[in-house]
Symmetry: C2
Subunit: 238 residues, 2 copies
């Protein structure tokens, strides 16, 4: 029952314990904090301390970590390096993930050169572009390939994660190409929401959208401070 049994089990179809999405999102945060602690030669940490560092509360931290297994010691806390290892394993960061970048423009090149990718085990397997004049040039230590070769590249290099770095008007077709080529997860930098089949995982990195949400919160904040606001736009227009 406990994951720390002594035998090697082989899991087959769908036997992975599913961790709630909300908890998965916080794991990289804990990971970063534990890395910093480890660099400072800190070996033990309690859920209380970790909660402060992560801006969460202790109960949530304990619940999140309990999804990984029972790796803490009652009355003491968690071993930093062991917890680090367990989170990395759960997130799949002990593996190397080949990614393909679609778009060799400013953003695509910047991402290709971004050291944080390789640091975290994400290897730029290829950069592709539809512009023939860009094919052959070098971006991020990788020669730019033509987008027509995408299926071949995905197959031969075992790529399962694609990064979209093209202007908004081409983003949907880039996404469709990635899906057809066999990619299962997409990170989208274009300022657009993509239509994708449900089985494709997608994460958005969309500044325009985020700013609009901040705009709403700013408005609420200003209202709360007591700034007078007209509540009926109808009559203002009329």
């Amino acid at each position: 029952m406990n994951a720390r049994s002594n035998s090697v089990e082989v899991m087959t179809t769908a036997s992975r314990r599913r961790i709630p999405e909300a908890a998965v999102i916080r794991l990289p945060l804990y990971l970063r904090i534990l890395n910093d602690l480890s660099a400072d030669n800190c070996t033990q940490i309690s859920s209380d301390q970790l909660a402060v560092l992560a801006g969460q509360n202790a109960a949530k931290v304990r619940k999140d970590l309990s999804y990984l297994g029972s790796y803490g010691t009652r009355g003491v806390g968690y071993d930093v390096s062991y917890l680090l290892y367990q989170i990395q394993r759960e997130l799949g960061l002990n593996k190397s993930w080949p990614v393909v970048i679609v778009g060799a423009g400013n953003l695509g090149q910047a991402l290709g050169n971004y050291g944080g990718l390789s640091e975290r085990g994400f290897v730029v397997a290829a950069v592709v572009d539809s512009d023939p004049s860009k094919v052959g040039s070098v971006a991020g230590g990788v020669r730019v390939s033509h987008v027509d070769d995408l299926p071949l590249i995905v197959q031969s290099k075992g790529v399962s994660i694609g990064i979209i770095a093209v202007p908004a008007q081409y983003a949907q077709s880039a996404a469709d190409l990635l899906v057809r080529a066999g990619v299962g997860s997409i990170l989208n930098f274009a300022p657009i929401i993509l239509n994708l089949p449900a089985e494709i995982h997608i994460r958005k990195v969309d500044m325009a959208l985020e700013l609009q949400i901040l705009s709403y919160h700013e408005q609420c904040r200003m209202d709360a401070r007591g700034v007078a606001v007209v509540s009926d736009p109808e009559s203002v227009i009329a």
Copy 2:
């Protein structure tokens, strides 16, 4: 009771109807779709159709829109341009929001030049940097100012939204400076989670973090396909 009454009401402290956070996040998505529809001369839309375009379901769309008021027509649907107007108003996009960008490096300059900002009413009031050699150069049509002038700039230009575009190691101090200068919302591009007072709204645009989440989902997907996986790392290490 209905927001479409005929008199002009003046709301004072905290009278804004609070829309659930989850719904606020979808409003910019609807906005983008309605804009496209409007450009295609489409004047009416039903919750069913909008749901398909947004990748949501009809009930959720109706509930989301109902938070704005009762702007639909039973048996018919919603008027595209009126809905557009209402969403923009609710999000505060009918106002002009001055923003300050902290960091005049590659990312800061790219953001300053990004047309999507001004298109959406976000005006780059200033770009600041701590490097004196960068002060005076031009980024995004705005002269780069020294970070020491931040409080003055925020005050004089009425800035309430800050954008952090500095390396991770400087992000926390940049955030602290913004808060002390009086900014209320922050968009963070640095690959780090910031510690901020609860009253500050923050949105993260963090590729490293998003990729780690995709990595987890890829792992789940591969497990589901029946790839054999060792479930007990303990014994593998030993």
